[in-house]
């Protein structure tokens, strides 16, 4: 047996183990959702049932949590995408000596454990709403939104930053030369250029919000979300109804993730096609025009 063959065998063995570890537990949990015994079990498989799914829809606090999760997710998208966008644009323009400190501040939530963000959000806003007499704003939905937006905005900012690295300011200058205002440049050039990043940021923001537990469990106060209800149920005891819920949640997230990848891939293909067309158009230009274009291309945002 050659050493090459041994290498291939080892690799295959490792790949099988890796993906078995990755999918095995989820698969086993999935099977328990369809088995009749009231304790989640795979084997012996006593009979196929969909009862555990029926139970879920009758569960009112679960449905309430699901509603809140969607609501908070939508709020977080509406808050985090603009905040992350502003954070990224400011990053490209901020005074060079302040950039290090600014970067540290806005990126720190990514490296902070979620429980700590939840705790500080609750402590801070409890007293602030009290001083300002706005106690009615001390509410779980609002606080969970603020707490999650703290770090999800940073995810969004990182997405925008990587897109802005490829931003060519030559279009901006051309528009200004043609008499556009700065505000028009922002809405008609920068935002369309960032559209794929806005889409990515919105999806990532929603998914991060929807599956978040650590920050939410503190910030949600007396309200509930799907994850907090779920955690409570799991701690109370093991039932296949939770497996059934898991199957549904996994189906939703996986469908979302796949849809997102498909849309992103299509967007990428469109973009490369456009770039290729642009390059072909450029080669047809006179040499003088090409040299100015190259000159401007060097002025892309420095990062």
């Amino acid at each position: 047996m050659s050493s090459r063959l041994i290498g291939r065998l080892l690799l295959g063995f490792y790949l099988v183990l890796f993906f078995a570890f990755l999918f095995g537990p989820l698969l086993i949990m999935g099977i328990t959702a369809f088995n009749t015994p009231s304790y989640p079990q795979v084997w012996p498989f006593e009979g196929f049932t969909l009862n555990w799914f029926d139970r879920l829809f009758a569960d009112r606090s679960l449905m309430e949590g699901l509603n809140n999760s969607f609501l908070i997710g939508a709020f977080v998208v509406l808050l985090s995408v603009p905040l992350g966008l502003a954070g990224a644009i400011v990053m490209t323009q901020v005074y060079s000596r302040a950039r290090g400190l600014y970067y540290l501040v806005v990126v720190s939530p990514v490296l902070t454990p979620g429980v700590i963000i939840g705790i500080s959000t609750v402590i801070f806003w409890k007293d602030v709403t009290q001083w300002t007499g706005a106690q009615s704003l001390f509410n779980g939905i609002l606080l969970a939104t603020l707490g999650q937006a703290t770090f999800i905005s940073a995810y969004c900012m990182l997405i925008f930053l990587s897109r802005l690295q490829r931003y060519d300011r030559v279009q901006e200058e051309a528009a200004l030369d043609l008499g556009a205002s700065r505000t028009q440049v922002f809405f008609d050039i920068l935002l369309p250029f960032l559209r794929p990043a806005i889409f990515s940021a919105a999806v990532i923001a929603f998914l991060s919000s929807f599956e978040n537990y650590n920050t939410t469990t503190f910030a949600i106060l007396a309200n509930k979300t799907l994850t907090t209800v779920l955690a409570g149920r799991v701690r109370q005891g093991m039932t296949p109804a939770i497996s059934a819920l898991a199957v549904i949640i996994i189906a939703i997230t996986v469908a979302g993730a796949i849809l997102y990848e498909i849309v992103k891939a299509a967007e990428l293909r469109k973009e490369t096609a456009r770039e290729r067309a642009a390059v072909q158009g450029e080669t047809a230009q006179t040499p003088a025009n090409v040299s100015t274009a190259q000159h401007h291309a060097g002025a892309a945002y420095p990062l």
Binding site: Y95, L111, E211, T253
Partner: protein
């Protein structure tokens, strides 16, 4: 509510720092004369500039800096009923930190062994899990980044992305289904006659530690893959031609190159592990020690928020220390870790 001087410092301090930099940049611009870049308002137009300032100001100050500073201040106060806060009893105290060390707000004769040990175990096991995740992910990341054909990479990538978004609670639940005393693994072991009584994986912390390893596997995978993928294959070929054994190539060519990816994955996995809440709550046995549930109990069982804030800060400083250590060890900058 608390000392007005500290409150002023919390709110005005960051504003003064910002003002300092604004003035500094103004002075610099004046020195350079009119040839420099246009100012912030000029460059963005007034409406956009106002939006940018308002958004970043709200995020950086009201969501990040103020709450953190306020929590620090809060942790140095005693637990008081709402009515007494700001009164004569509301003094600065170290009692919350004393409680972490000694298990009492006054008596310092005994160590608070439970909490100290839980803290130590959390840090130590989180480091081990980080290393284990790196060891598990590295071969696949290398295979995908350097060896496999693009079509294979695409398919493997899809297989990795699908489970990436699955919730931490559900991962923990899946492990409990497998590892409970009536769980799948015990059933199989007993049916095959290998054991007679079920093994208590939950009580032995086997379930928790393997569940945590499982939960954050992909957090390590993606940065690692991204880093290895950009390595020029010629470097590996050159090393091989010069007679380097395979482990030399990994240790002295690939890993040093992938340093930023390793650092990024390691900090994230460590932070998520040390701050994990759902997994220890669900997979822990009655004797399981983990620091985050203790922080949680300060709030929801002891109802002692200042003490909870102190415990949260202790956890935060451990995470900060780890980030700094990784930056030192790997000689990477923060911008390479968080991307």
């Amino acid at each position: 509510m608390t000392n007005p001087v500290t409150i002023a410092a919390i709110f005005l301090g960051p504003l003064l720092v910002t003002l300092f930099f604004v003035l500094l940049s103004k002075a610099e611009r004046r020195r350079l004369g009119p040839s420099g870049e246009p100012g912030f308002f000029q460059r963005n137009g007034a409406p956009v500039a106002i939006f940018l300032l308002a958004a970043v100001g709200f995020w950086a100050l009201f969501l990040i800096v103020f709450p953190q500073l306020y929590m620090i201040d809060y942790s140095f106060h005693p637990k008081l009923p709402q009515i007494k806060r700001g009164g004569p009893d509301d003094v600065y105290t170290l009692e919350n930190y004393r409680y972490f060390l000694f298990g009492s707000t006054r008596d310092t004769s005994h160590w608070n062994t439970t909490h100290l040990y839980a803290f130590w175990i959390t840090i130590f096991v989180s480091v081990l899990i980080t290393i284990a995740n790196f060891a598990i992910c590295y071969p696949l990341a290398f295979y995908m980044g350097q060896v496999a054909r693009p079509g294979v990479v695409l398919r493997l990538m899809l297989l990795l992305i699908i489970p990436y978004w699955i919730n931490e609670i559900l991962r923990a639940f899946a492990f409990r289904v497998m590892m409970g005393t009536g769980g799948v693994i015990n059933n199989i072991l007993m049916a095959t006659g290998l054991i007679h009584d079920p093994i208590d994986f939950l009580g032995l912390d086997v379930a928790l530690y393997s569940g945590l390893t499982y939960a954050y596997l992909l957090i390590m995978m993606f940065p690692l893959y991204n880093a290895i993928e950009s390595l020029d294959r010629n470097q590996i070929e050159a090393a091989r031609d010069l007679g380097a054994p395979w482990w030399h190539i990994h240790l002295f060519v690939v890993m040093p190159y992938a340093k930023p990816g390793i650092a990024s994955g390691a900090t994230l996995v460590f932070m998520l592990c040390a701050g994990a809440l759902a997994a220890p709550l669900i997979l822990g046995g009655p004797k399981t020690l983990w620091f985050t549930p203790i922080v949680y109990d300060r709030f929801f069982q002891a109802f002692n928020w200042p003490q909870g804030a102190a415990y949260a800060l202790i956890l935060l400083s451990a995470c900060m220390a780890f980030v700094l250590l990784v930056m030192r060890l790997f000689k990477v900058r923060l911008s390479e870790i968080a991307r």
